[in-house]
């Protein structure tokens, strides 16, 4: 099976390892991510003002390109891109007036024909978590994982439709399929502080501290995420959190595709962990995974 694939800007730069591991795993699981031949930024923010359409021109062009190349689905790995593309697609499907304005503006014909999928949905709905379990070559036994969803993968639930709002389980089911143990983690849907980190680091530090401390409190060995910005905040804020609270125990933060890659037998040395501020390798060695 071949899926049109939209990596997004950050997966070419900061979150290269989210992309690399995702592509390699897809090959091992028997599906292909076929990158759109030319793509632009999705805009990274879905516009919420009713008569503001320009921010939807980017994602609509991406969706129209997918359709023109004969694609009926479009897969993304990044939570931000997923959120923007999915919500834009809902507008294109359901709001005649806005669709007309946007398609006239970018001079393209698009009616929301493409289905936007997150990589996790491909694993759950197309491959199946049971089948995934059978393809695991190195089960992640004894590894306790905090599944951090954040905001954009879930909300708003009506438009995104990936899982329920207050207690989603797709990520936990994924982790179980890999042989690891998901921990009970009430902060899994809290915000990490997002782009506020750029000008108010204290805000991002506070939000990240609450999330990570809650993960630790519930026995997590590591945290996984799908979002490059969450990854940045959660990983990068830890020295600062420690300054404020010397008792704080650091915790490695991984992209979910890196965890998947480990379970599918990729060597930990190839997964780019040198880019993590909090090095997961000592933990992985201790668990016999590296």
């Amino acid at each position: 099976m071949k899926y049109p694939y939209f990596p997004g800007c950050t997966l070419y730069t900061k979150a290269k390892k989210l992309d690399d591991a995702g592509r390699e795993c897809s090959r091992r699981l028997g599906f292909e991510l076929d990158e759109l031949p030319d793509w632009t930024c999705c805009g990274a923010t879905f516009p919420l003002v009713n008569d503001y359409h320009i921010a939807m021109s980017g994602p609509t062009r991406i969706l129209a390109d997918t359709k023109d190349q004969g694609g009926s689905q479009l897969v993304t790995l990044c939570s931000v891109c997923f959120n923007v593309l999915k919500r834009t697609n809902v507008v294109m499907r359901t709001d005649e007036e806005r669709r007309q304005k946007i398609t006239d503006f970018i001079e393209r014909d698009y009616h929301g024909e493409v289905e936007v999928l997150h990589y996790l949905q491909v694993l759950r709905d197309e491959i199946g978590f049971e089948q995934l379990r059978e393809k695991v070559v190195k089960p992640l036994t004894d590894l306790k994982v905090a599944c951090y969803y954040g905001c954009l993968l879930l909300r708003p639930v009506k438009e995104i439709g990936l899982d329920v709002m207050e207690n989603p389980t797709i990520f936990e089911d994924f982790v179980r399929a890999l042989g690891a143990e998901p921990v009970d983690f009430p902060y899994k849907i809290e915000c990490c502080g997002a782009f506020q980190v750029v000008h108010s680091m204290e805000t991002a530090t506070r939000c990240s501290r609450d999330i990570l401390a809650n993960a630790r409190l519930n026995g997590a060995d590591l945290v996984i995420t799908t979002c490059p910005l969450c990854h940045f905040n959660l990983d990068d804020r830890q020295p600062e959190i420690r300054k404020g609270d010397p008792r704080f125990q650091t915790v490695p933060v991984l992209y979910f595709t890196q965890l998947l890659a480990l379970a599918l037998g990729l060597d930990a040395a190839e997964l780019g962990f040198e880019r993590n501020l909090i090095d997961p390798l000592p933990l992985l060695r201790e668990k016999g995974l590296a």
Binding site: C9, T10, Y12, T13, K14, K16, D38, W39, T40, C41, G43, A44, T45, F46, P47, L48, V49, N50, D51, Y52, I54, S57, G58, R61, F105, I106, C151, R155, P156, V157, M165, I189, E190, C191, G193, A194, F195, Q196, V197, V198, H199, S200, M201, T203, C207, D236, E274, R275, L277
Partner: protein, 175 residues
């Protein structure tokens, strides 16, 4: 009358039934940013109802909201706060009010500039442009530097191929 108009305008632009808010404060209790807002989300709703336009457009709250949508998902009256905040941010810029938090505006502009130039976002040049706009060379320069040292940000941007079309869209949109 002005009060009624403001409420009606914000309701129309955001598509949210703000008149239904009865101050249960569920939005504020779940808000990750509320403790740093000058007006918490429930108060913002009340202020819109009361037509307190000037105070709202000058508030810090509208720039601190990160659109995490927790409030909107939980509101018993189906009011989404994030679109209301977006409408207020837009009104602030449109009416020439000085934003209470100008650095956020600079950041968003740097982001858009990056798309205009490359068709994609390139963190290094974006952070540099943001630094030049804010003239603050300490703070998160640290963030940028750390990213470079750990090889997360390539030095040169990768451009999209059909840049002319992107430029046309920006030209048409007057951004």
């Amino acid at each position: 009358m002005a009060q009624q108009n403001f409420l009606a305008e914000v309701m129309a632009a955001s598509g949210q039934p703000i008149n239904l808010c009865y101050q249960c404060r569920k939005c504020t209790l779940g808000c990750p940013m509320a403790e740093e807002f000058d007006f918490p989300p429930n108060m913002v709703m009340r202020m819109v109802q009361l037509g307190m336009k000037d105070e709202l457009l000058r508030s810090k709250a509208i720039w601190m909201c990160v659109s995490c949508e927790t409030c909107g998902t939980r509101c018993p009256n189906g009011i989404k706060t994030a679109p209301v905040m977006d409408v207020l941010r837009e009104a602030c810029l449109r009416e020439g009010v000085t934003p209470a938090d100008p650095v956020t505006v600079d950041f968003h502009r740097s982001f858009t500039d990056s798309i205009r130039k490359f068709g994609r976002v390139h963190e290094a040049t974006m952070l540099l442009s943001y630094k030049l706009k804010t003239k603050n060379f300490t703070g998160d320069l640290d963030v940028g530097l750390k990213l470079f040292l750990r090889g997360k940000i390539p030095l040169l941007p990768k451009k999209a191929k059909n840049l002319n079309k992107i430029k046309d869209i920006f030209k048409k949109s007057d951004l």
